[in-house]
């Protein structure tokens, strides 16, 4: 009667498993949403702060000309006496070249290296005395690692009628 004994031993297996299934799921139905909710409630807040950088030169008060080109907002600024001039560049989107150098180009032979651009924000470059009161110039943005011109932006002094 081995078969007989076997059957008796196995009695109610389905029932037992079904009961365990139900208890497991009732348990999960309580524990899992609580744990999930705890996790969702602990999603961290964004950590924000205005980045701290070194001071940059104050902007000169008078706008000679301005232009928007790609990710750059460019202003050509001067003081009231016409003794100092600046190029202001505001970067609106992250730069995606390994090097972004700005050069003021009066003509092929006469250029002034303004500097290198990095993270987003304002950059102000003071023009050499030899570059004051020009009728216009080109700002050349180039990648000096890949040796390519990224963009060239002409700035012209408006003609006063």
């Amino acid at each position: 009667m081995a078969g007989f004994a076997g059957i008796v031993k196995k009695k109610g297996v389905n029932m037992e498993q079904r009961k365990i299934h139900l208890y497991v799921w009732l348990g999960l139905a309580i524990l899992l949403p609580i744990s999930w909710l705890l996790a969702v409630l602990s999603i961290p807040d964004a950590v924000e702060q205005e980045p701290v950088r070194g001071d940059i030169a104050a902007a000169l008060p008078i706008v000679v000309a301005k232009k928007e080109s790609g990710e750059f907002l460019i202003r050509w600024l001067r003081d009231s006496a016409g003794q100092r001039e600046q190029v202001e560049i505001f970067i609106t989107k992250p730069l995606e070249s390994p090097n972004t150098t700005v050069v003021l180009k009066k003509n092929a032979a006469d250029t002034q290296l303004l500097g290198m651009l990095s993270t987003r924000g304002f950059y102000r470059f003071t023009l050499d005395s030899s570059q004051l009161q020009l009728p216009g110039f080109d700002l050349v943005f180039s990648d000096e690692i890949k040796l390519k011109v990224l963009r060239s932006v002409p700035l012209r002094r408006p003609v006063i009628q």
Partner: protein, 348 residues
């Protein structure tokens, strides 16, 4: 029911099931990748693979977990259940790709080996916010691996259907681990209410279906319970009225802890143990086809009067003595050895 084990015992149904499954999976991956590249072309290929396979695997796990209770609530969906193993094994492969890519991406090529890195880079187990979510994913992947590796009738036979079922209940633990892997992982980074909503909805669906099906089953089990009343000297217990059993179908009864499937066919009544020898499927939810009780899960068959599979098959279930008096069915809940022939009760 064969005694040799092919890698997969192909049927036309399985082929169609797999084709539909493959088409849906391919469409999902294609849509995911295309949308990703259209809206977020900056994504790296590794992140794309990790996110696509992770999302698909987790979605598949939801479908897999809902199919079971759905079929218990509405048996018309049973065909979805038959080939669920293929869905499960495919889901494991998705999870494995997700896991391996993540391991290589985040842990390989560093100053410790990848496994040490996995468990030591973040050890803030005491914090909810900083909890090392990757170890939850690794635990779930291990469970899914064991399940996928044993997802074959060879293991079912050698482990025994009871142990096999227990092992495969590990999927519930894997699911819980994965819900938390997602909640403590990508949700913490993406913070999107939409993603939180989708994952919450998925969890509610799985939990809701299982609890609803479990409660329904518990109610049905309690209705099936019969107690012995009347003469002490008779072993027979009232089961049901003959009219309660549809033709060629059964009624499940619980008498003295025995689950008994009482079948009506050809103006006769026979009773066998409710549990199929293959995977423990409920024979009472089956049907008499070609004179055989046919299990609704995988079609294993037994002759109703002796509980034996028709030759050449060798499976056998226990049988019970049955009597019919005045339109009422009585069953002796003491089982006879598996395959013992009984005289079916004639419906007068």
């Amino acid at each position: 029911m064969s005694l040799s084990y092919d890698p997969i015992h192909w049927t036309r149904y399985k082929r169609r099931y797999d084709k539909v499954m493959a088409a849906i999976l391919a469409a999902f991956l294609l849509l995911f990748v295309a949308t990703q590249l259209l809206f977020f072309p900056e994504i790296t290929i590794e992140t794309l693979v990790i996110r696509a396979t992770g999302t698909l695997g987790f979605l598949m796990l939801h479908v897999i977990l809902v199919i079971g209770p759905l079929c218990r609530l509405q048996p018309r969906f049973l065909p979805l259940l038959y080939n669920r193993r293929h869905l499960g094994v495919t889901m494991f492969f998705m999870a494995a790709i997700h896991g391996v890519f993540s391991l290589v991406q985040f842990h390989a090529n560093g100053n410790t080996d990848w496994l040490t890195s996995l468990f030591t880079s973040n050890t803030a187990y005491g914090s909810v916010q900083r909890f090392p979510f990757q170890s939850l994913g690794a635990g779930a992947l291990l469970i899914l691996f064991l399940m996928a590796a044993t997802s074959h009738d060879f293991w079912l036979k050698n482990l025994g259907s009871r142990w096999w079922k227990w092992l495969h209940m590990g999927v519930y633990l894997a699911y819980a681990l994965l819900v938390m892997h997602v909640a403590l992982g990508i949700l913490q980074f993406e913070k999107s209410p939409l993603l939180i909503g989708i994952s919450g909805l998925g969890m509610s669906m799985v939990l809701g279906f299982h609890v609803a099906a479990g409660l329904k089953q518990a109610r049905a089990d309690s209705q099936a319970r019969r107690k012995k009343v009347g003469a002490e000297d008779s072993p027979f217990v009232f089961a049901c009225n003959v009219a309660d059993i549809p033709e060629n179908r059964a009624k499940m009864l619980l008498i003295a802890d025995q689950q008994i499937a009482v079948f009506k066919y050809d103006q006769r009544i026979s009773a066998v143990h409710n549990r199929c020898k293959h995977q423990g499927g409920p024979l009472s939810e089956g049907k008499i086809l070609d004179g055989c009780i046919t299990c609704p899960w995988h079609g294993y068959q037994y002759l109703p009067h002796n509980g034996q599979s028709p030759p050449p098959f060798v499976e056998k279930v226990a049988t019970y003595a049955v009597r019919v008096e005045a339109g009422k069915v009585y069953v002796n809940p003491t089982p006879y050895p598996e395959g013992t022939a009984q005289i079916p009760a004639e419906i007068a």
